[in-house]
Point group: C2
Chain length 336, copies 2
Amino acid sequence: MFESVTIKDIAKALGVSVSTVSRALNGSYEIGSDTKKLVLEYAEKINYRPNPIALSLKEQKSHSIGVVVCEVANDYFSQAINGIESIAYNRGYHVIITQTHESFDRENANVKHLLSRHVDGLLVSLSAQTTDTSQFKYLLDKGFPIVFFDRAAPGLETHKVVADNFKGAFEATETLIKAGYKKIAHVTNSNNLLISQERLDGYKAALHQYGLEFSPEHVKYCNHGGKIIEEVEIAINELLSSVTRPDAIFSGSDKLTISCMGILKKLQLKIPDDIELAGFTNSDVVQLFDPPLTVVRQPAFEMGQVATELLIKTIESKWRVEEFKTEKMPPEIIIR
Amino acid sequence: MFESVTIKDIAKALGVSVSTVSRALNGSYEIGSDTKKLVLEYAEKINYRPNPIALSLKEQKSHSIGVVVCEVANDYFSQAINGIESIAYNRGYHVIITQTHESFDRENANVKHLLSRHVDGLLVSLSAQTTDTSQFKYLLDKGFPIVFFDRAAPGLETHKVVADNFKGAFEATETLIKAGYKKIAHVTNSNNLLISQERLDGYKAALHQYGLEFSPEHVKYCNHGGKIIEEVEIAINELLSSVTRPDAIFSGSDKLTISCMGILKKLQLKIPDDIELAGFTNSDVVQLFDPPLTVVRQPAFEMGQVATELLIKTIESKWRVEEFKTEKMPPEIIIR
DNA sequence: CTGAAAGCGCTAACAA
DNA sequence: TTGTTAGCGCTTTCAG
């Protein structure tokens, strides 16, 4: 089963040449239909599988796509990977996952590693630390297929699949406002990330629309995206001890929403009685809370699928792709 | 950066032969130290990276390991994959993830797919549907490296990394008993899985030790492991409407614990007032519930790491490995 | 100490 | 229609 038969074995067994076998297998027209049938049947019988490594060496492509995410153990990303895998599998690509753990250096190393593995394209969600995207620019300039999803690099010309972060943030904030909260803080991811900026903008826009003043000290950036719990603790403590102590928090990422919940619980603050919380998350469990949280849920699975489809299309395009689109997918807002 | 330089380019540039370059690069002793230095420095300068595909073809190994799990979007498995990836990355292997979605056919197809990709070894957690493990037996008999983790195949001689399911189940049940619950039901995964049987045994043992009678109608198997929500709903409804309506449920898997919570909530039953729930889960969020659940948490990350270490050791072993161990890792029980 | 050449499995240009 | 052969990048015998 795993010490596979080669085209050579078939050729020998059938007394034909390897090229004949190859042609038969690849459905070339320049071959006698009886020979073809013979080869095909025999190949089927002995369960021949072409060696993808040899093919890769020949074709200079590996039929694999590299994925760069910050973390697998994250509801958003694991769901997105599920979507990625579902498409890739059906298209005959395999998926190589790497994690940055929000480190720029690790991101660089991962990309290099994947490239040295000759992946045919990259599906990337930037690390929270990343500000320098020249590595990606360099590759894109050379025509290497890259699709960003969720955390896209601003200013780079390529396909991007993102959620409508502005809308999600706007609606979550609006929900809090309509529920009567007046001092809404925003705990968010690193300002390096475009998604953070978009979510901040949505938050601001909602405040503005409802006549609430935006105060900068109500925005706390967690530069490690909540990976370091202390940074979230500090943020929350600062908010709670400030003169303008917020009555609600809108959190800007999956990990942060969970972290905030944990910290508030540790501080023995009840949600929503002592302080209200709403935020981005793809955790299904959060919706089981009583009372449940108002959450913004990204279509992670679908985003993974769409990104993978775009990537494979780019990879398999005969000509260099010059027209890129940004798929902005609607988030789902689940109001308590 | 990605149209890599080859050994040939170096040879040409330096006016030596490819074999000399190869030898220098591989630190062969049969080479002049000055030639060696020359090559090494030049290779460094032009940032030469050997082509792993060519190496694979040559060595007949791919430096990749295949992972077969039921689902990525599952806290246990995503954490385990995190552990797998952490070890594999450092050892120069890449990880190819496939999902069975609890289907035996898909499991088979995935294994075939990975094999045709010439992975050097397999990390497997069986699907809930699997009863026939002859595919794995066949491979193992041929000396192909496979390590099972979490859901291991009974009767197959190979490394296994599992949690102490008996202990975890025993302690969770014991906790419920000590809290005064007398009619404790057990909602669990497919009976095909060894882990289900072990967890059932732990549950039974606890009942027995505390003088509670075991009643078979209190055990509900969900053959799709909670993937199909209806099957869990039916199980719960049956339990609730039986004459011996339980006062607590002990759930046997990550997905089931979450599903049970959702269903109970939907039925407007309060935990623990109307019915108590305890179960296996690796979700961090569950611990934020108020009151929190008593949960059994498997050392997923560590299990992934240990399994990967064992696998790589087997792969790289010069001789066929004949001695196998089963690492039984302690679960963590988090008592509310 | 170094080079030439075969071979890993496959495709495709070239010959027949 | 079929066969022969070169070559993808690399290692490794075998000669020198």
